[in-house]
Symmetry: C2
Subunit: 224 residues, 2 copies
Amino acid sequence: MSIPEYHDSSGRRLVDYPRPSVAVDTAVLTPDPERGLLVLLVRRDSATRSDAWALPGTFLHEGETLAGAVLRSLDQKAGLRGQAPRQLYVFDDPRRDDRGWVLSVAHVVLLPPAVVAPVAEERPDDVQLRPVAEATGLPFDHDGIVEMAVAQVRAAYAERPDPERLLPEPFTLRDLRRLHEAVAGRRLQPDVFRRHVRDHLQSTGEATRGSVGRPAELFRHASR
Amino acid sequence: MSIPEYHDSSGRRLVDYPRPSVAVDTAVLTPDPERGLLVLLVRRDSATRSDAWALPGTFLHEGETLAGAVLRSLDQKAGLRGQAPRQLYVFDDPRRDDRGWVLSVAHVVLLPPAVVAPVAEERPDDVQLRPVAEATGLPFDHDGIVEMAVAQVRAAYAERPDPERLLPEPFTLRDLRRLHEAVAGRRLQPDVFRRHVRDHLQSTGEATRGSVGRPAELFRHASR
DNA sequence: TTAATAGTGTCTGTAAGACATTATGAC
DNA sequence: GTCATAATGTCTTACAGACACTATTAA
């Protein structure tokens, strides 16, 4: 990529400024509806001196977007095909990384358990899943990233039903509630939850069959 | 700053990767209680080819934090001494700047009108103040930055009374409400507003004197 | 006394939360 | 029928919004 001549107000060319390395670190979260909690993916990084469990991350390559770097790192380091990552915060302490001047852009990605679970099972020495409540003590600023990631996802799910579209359609209100309970990390009352989300959903007219108890109505996300 | 040897998973040294320039662009907002609206500071940038009005910004220097770069750019380019900037978003399209590969970290700063107004009066050819509703048509991603900045500030002020501590203490509820009306860009009912913020404030026991009408109680922000 | 502004009482509508009740299927 | 689960009715509480009313000063 050619950089045209450019002088800033002090007469220095843009290209003459020292530039930081830019990294991305990603909190990969997945709900566990069975246990009713959020789970964080951590990986053991053999490239860095510290052999600790940490968030997956990578350096931004030339011509690449931040989201692209996040998806590449998840693919390479955890064998995951991800959805749209969301930016959380830029960590910019000039001395935060003793390998040099490195900015880190923290991201969060929420994935369905069906995608994440197999990866952790296949590569237990590389990749682990930990309930977010027990996922502290990570190196660098990673504890803070996880905290922001959890807050971000919980706020989004408190706002509207399954904004990340993790649930395959059609689904019952019970399925949806279990998902939200896992994200929120606490029980939700069925009737309160129903009234909270009902207007954002579209009935399919169908119902579950063969289950114990009264069949449940099946829904899709409303048009939007 | 020395960069220790470091090989990533593909065997390349950290220092060998091409690195982006990192810039900061800042939406400087100030409430105008007289007119009841939020005002944006724009400056004419003679260094870039485009001579358009735009947000103040600068490139990140070595060893500097993003907040430091924001404060430096406000000082240099608008003669402003600012408070804590807040990050909004990283714009990362590799082709967003034709001078080269430049990431821009958007920020927002809210300043008291007493600080901003004199600057605009002293340097009308360099610095202008525009109501946010009329501050569209800016170059680059700046329109989007302004939108995010306004949303951020409005959300913060809807949450608690004057989180940026713009009002000098002590203040009356009328002063506080005027400030919030300017931030929100709409009228707020005195009684509703009072009940909304009362618990977060601490009475000084004093009252205004010499004004028309019943004297107003004077408040400070509650301890916190 | 009047004008002007500060502050309070109270009514309404809406929504969350909690609990009881009804509905509908499998067995 | 019994059991299990889905869905709804309704009561309480809280709070925003709206409006009327009272309080306290200057002039």
